[in-house]
């Protein structure tokens, strides 16, 4: 068989060469993404210059030139004749920090607010992590027990003539406390209300449908600020003589109704996306309206619209700043009033305050949106390929 071989067949593979340096690793990546053509190179250089011109002054202002400690404005003001530049006045934020978090809540009672914050975090975090057990108990504690305890802790408790917890009127509340109270109450109250109006809008009963449509379109058509004016100026006129509402409660009602209308439209989108077969299947199983909705339709519909619901939450959280205009001191309102304190008046105080507010709002909103993406992926049980 193998006497003479006039040609040679290679039986072993030649050693594999590494890919050219210019196509792999950092250089390859840069060639592909940054310098693939002349136009792209110009764009890259432009982008880097733009980024430098934005971030370099920002870092210079917020970190390098910043003033970190001091007792009053002298720390943040450039002394006469000096050429040094002064950046962010973080000492001001440090001095005012308790006010930004608690408002004018009496100092000796602040532990109550801290308990509420701790309880809220302690119940929300296990609720938000999918693998933690006892979800039902957790939900009951968070949605029913916590609001009652928090209400008495924050406002105070007097039984008969015994003062168990001294009353703290809501005008003394402020800062992050007010922001969180409005946002959390608005979020928890607007979701069920929104579901109700979404179901009403898709109802077969003409009057229920008409009422829902008018409600939804009315609130969606007007700006929140007019709703807040309405709740602070017009609502007292609607009540019988002698009955007064707390201002915070009036604002809460306005915010809740407003975001319930937006929530209703989001939920309606989800309801419309559920195929008719699901309704018919549920009815064929003998389920009535509420079991059908609660067990079959809403779990699927709400899952579909999680991004929309979280977007509405984020919108609501940002909109809480508007209560500043009707004279309440939320985080932004508190910061804005404190920047006019003559003790701390300096050219950078105001900007520092706004930067601090922006950072806090950014953390909350960005956190919520990241969490919604995480949950969306987790609940993605495979309808799409």
């Amino acid at each position: 068989m193998s006497q003479t071989s006039t040609f040679q067949i290679r039986t072993e593979e030649a050693p594999r060469l590494p890919a050219p340096v210019s196509t792999t690793g950092l250089i390859g990546w840069m060639r592909q993404n940054l310098f693939s053509s002349a136009g792209n190179t110009i764009l890259t250089i432009f982008g880097i210059l733009l980024a430098y011109s934005i971030f370099a002054p920002l870092i210079q202002f917020a970190l390098i030139d910043a003033v970190w400690s001091g007792d009053n404005r002298d720390a943040c003001v450039v002394p006469d004749g000096s050429t040094e530049t002064v950046g962010a006045c973080w000492a001001f934020v440090k001095a005012y920090f308790p006010q930004f978090i608690y408002g004018r809540y009496p100092t000796e009672e602040i532990y109550r607010v801290n308990i509420v914050y701790a309880m809220f975090a302690g119940l929300l975090i296990p609720m938000a992590i999918p693998s933690v057990p006892f979800k039902k108990l957790n939900a009951v504690l968070l949605l029913i027990v916590f609001p009652i305890i928090a209400y008495y802790l924050l406002t105070g408790l007097v039984i008969g003539s015994d003062v168990i917890l001294p009353i703290v009127e809501t005008p003394f509340w402020g800062g992050l406390l007010v922001t969180l109270v409005i946002a959390v109450t608005g979020i928890t109250a607007s979701l069920p209300l929104g579901i109700l109006f979404a179901l009403g809008r898709r109802s077969d009963m003409p009057i229920v449908k008409l009422v829902s449509v008018i409600f939804i379109e009315f609130w969606r058509g007007v700006p929140l600020i007019t709703v807040l004016f309405m709740s602070s100026v017009m609502l007292p006129l609607f009540l019988p003589e002698g009955v007064t509402f707390d201002r915070l409660l009036r604002v809460l009602i306005g915010v809740t109704l407003f975001s319930a209308a937006y929530m209703a439209e989001v939920v309606r989108g989800g309801l419309q996306a559920i195929p008719k077969g699901q309704y018919e299947g549920a009815m064929a199983l003998g389920l009535r309206f509420w079991p059908m909705m609660g067990l079959i339709i809403l779990p699927q519909a709400l899952k579909l619209v999680i991004p929309g619901i979280v977007n509405t939450f984020i919108g609501l959280f940002k909109d809480t700043t508007l209560v500043m205009i009707v004279g309440m001191f939320d985080l932004l309102g508190q910061i804005q009033t404190s920047t006019s304190d003559p003790n701390w008046a300096s050219p950078t105080t105001g900007v520092t305050g706004y930067l601090f507010a922006a950072m806090i709002f950014f953390c909350f909103c960005f956190g919520m949106s990241r969490y919604s993406i995480f949950i969306e992926k987790k609940l993605h049980t495979g309808h799409k390929r």
Binding site: T226, K318, M324, I325, A357, F361
Partner: protein, 396 residues
């Protein structure tokens, strides 16, 4: 078969009224109406009693009274002796002005950022991502007061104004720029402009008809651009340039002459358009990504170059996805312009609030606000629905 028929006819007898869906539906609706009517009755009687106690006359008669306050930005004639109604009209026009300028700026910026977000260039797309996330996670009100604060405090005073082209000045009194003043002969140029616009529309219709019939294309866009630029220019040349510019001049502590944009307006429009543009950018990105890549490949296979592929294939399909959410962003911008009240820009809500404080006519003023914003919303959404229908996929 006959036994089955009788069975079908029977079941009504077994349903009691409580379990009959129709009876229940009627019952619930009657209950709802009763509750609503009762609530309405209570509210109206309480309101009437409260108003009587506070001695406030209801009705819109107060709109005729003299307002007595000045307004820093008016598009129509207004003085302190004008009526409250006139003041509210000034506010309405200012709201519309801010909304229109804001929509244009926000759309332009939003489309640029949205496309940049999809760029293959890593630096550009990451920059766009940072922009979108940083802007849309910070409340609009915070951004408005921030820009206003910067304009009042960080911008130099009139004597040390920032200057561009020797005739545009930015200082803490606002933005000053030359104002064109047209002589009476400029009517010819205006007429030429109108003729050019009409001619462009006619050419566009003719060109698309001819393309449908023969397949031949006609550069109608270029022609329209040429007509709209050249005809009025020719009109100006013929009449010997009847345009003079009124330049802002520093006199004492402030500028006189020229066109002045008040700081409130600059802050409001900047904040509104930056904020809304971050949302529009996301809409544009999602819209472009919604067009499947097969469309691009098919267009390339047909021999279209990159530009025409984008213009004729991708963007028309992306617009279908983009328009509905874009509409709601435009509406949001219009409604958000009411935040002007925080920096005292004289818009509808801000001036209405002043009127409310002076007259105490809460119900009337708030009803005017609601009516105006509701109708603005309905008009915008009606227009955008019409446009959406025109752009929508025409299926067999």
């Amino acid at each position: 078969m006959t036994t089955r028929d009788t069975e079908v006819a029977q079941p009504e007898a077994r349903t009691s009224l409580i379990n009959d869906p129709q009876a229940r539906a009627i019952f619930f609706q009657v209950l709802l109406v009763a509750v609503l009517v009762f609530a309405g009755y209570v509210i109206v009687t309480n309101t009437v009693a409260n108003l009587q106690r506070q001695n406030i006359a209801s009705g819109y008669g107060f709109l005729e009274n003299i307002a007595g306050f000045g307004i820093s930005l008016t598009l129509i004639d207004y003085s302190e002796t004008s009526s409250y109604g006139r003041a509210i009209l000034v506010g309405l026009l200012n709201t519309v002005l801010v909304a229109v300028v804001g929509v244009v700026l926000a759309s332009t910026l939003g489309f640029i950022i949205g496309v940049a977000r999809l760029s293959k260039n890593w630096v550009i797309s990451k920059l766009a991502y940072c922009y979108v996330e940083a802007i849309r996670n910070v409340p609009l009100l915070l951004q408005i007061v921030f820009w206003y604060f910067l304009l009042l405090n960080a911008v130099p005073s009139a004597r040390n104004s920032m200057e561009a082209f020797g005739s545009v000045f930015l200082n803490n009194r606002g933005l000053f720029m030359p104002k064109p003043v047209f002589g009476p002969e400029a009517v010819l140029a205006l007429g030429a402009l109108i003729v050019a616009v009409v001619a462009s529309i006619v050419i566009k219709i003719w060109a698309s008809r001819r393309q449908m019939a023969t397949g031949q294309q006609f550069p109608s866009g270029l022609t329209a651009l040429g007509l709209i630029v050249l005809l009025p220019l020719a009109g100006l040349v013929v009449t010997g340039f009847p345009v003079t510019f009124d330049y802002p001049v520093l006199k004492g502590f402030n500028f006189v002459g020229g066109q002045r944009l008040i700081p409130e307006m600059i802050a409001l429009i900047t904040a509104l358009s930056i904020y809304t543009s971050s949302f529009i950018a996301e809409i544009v990105r999602a819209g472009i990504q919604a067009v499947s890549h097969g469309q691009t490949e098919a267009a390339h296979a047909l021999g279209l170059r990159h530009g025409p592929t984008l213009r004729l294939v991708i963007i028309p399909q992306a617009m279908r996805v983009i328009i509905p959410p874009l509409t709601s962003q435009y509406l949001n911008l219009t409604k958000n312009s009411s935040l002007a009240v925080a920096i005292a820009f004289p818009d509808l809500v801000s001036l209405g609030g002043t009127v409310l404080n002076q007259t105490g006519q809460a119900i009337e003023v708030i009803s005017i606000w609601m009516l105006v914003y509701l109708s603005l919303s309905l008009i915008t959404s009606a227009f955008m629905n019409w446009y959406n229908q025109k752009m929508a996929l025409v299926e067999r």
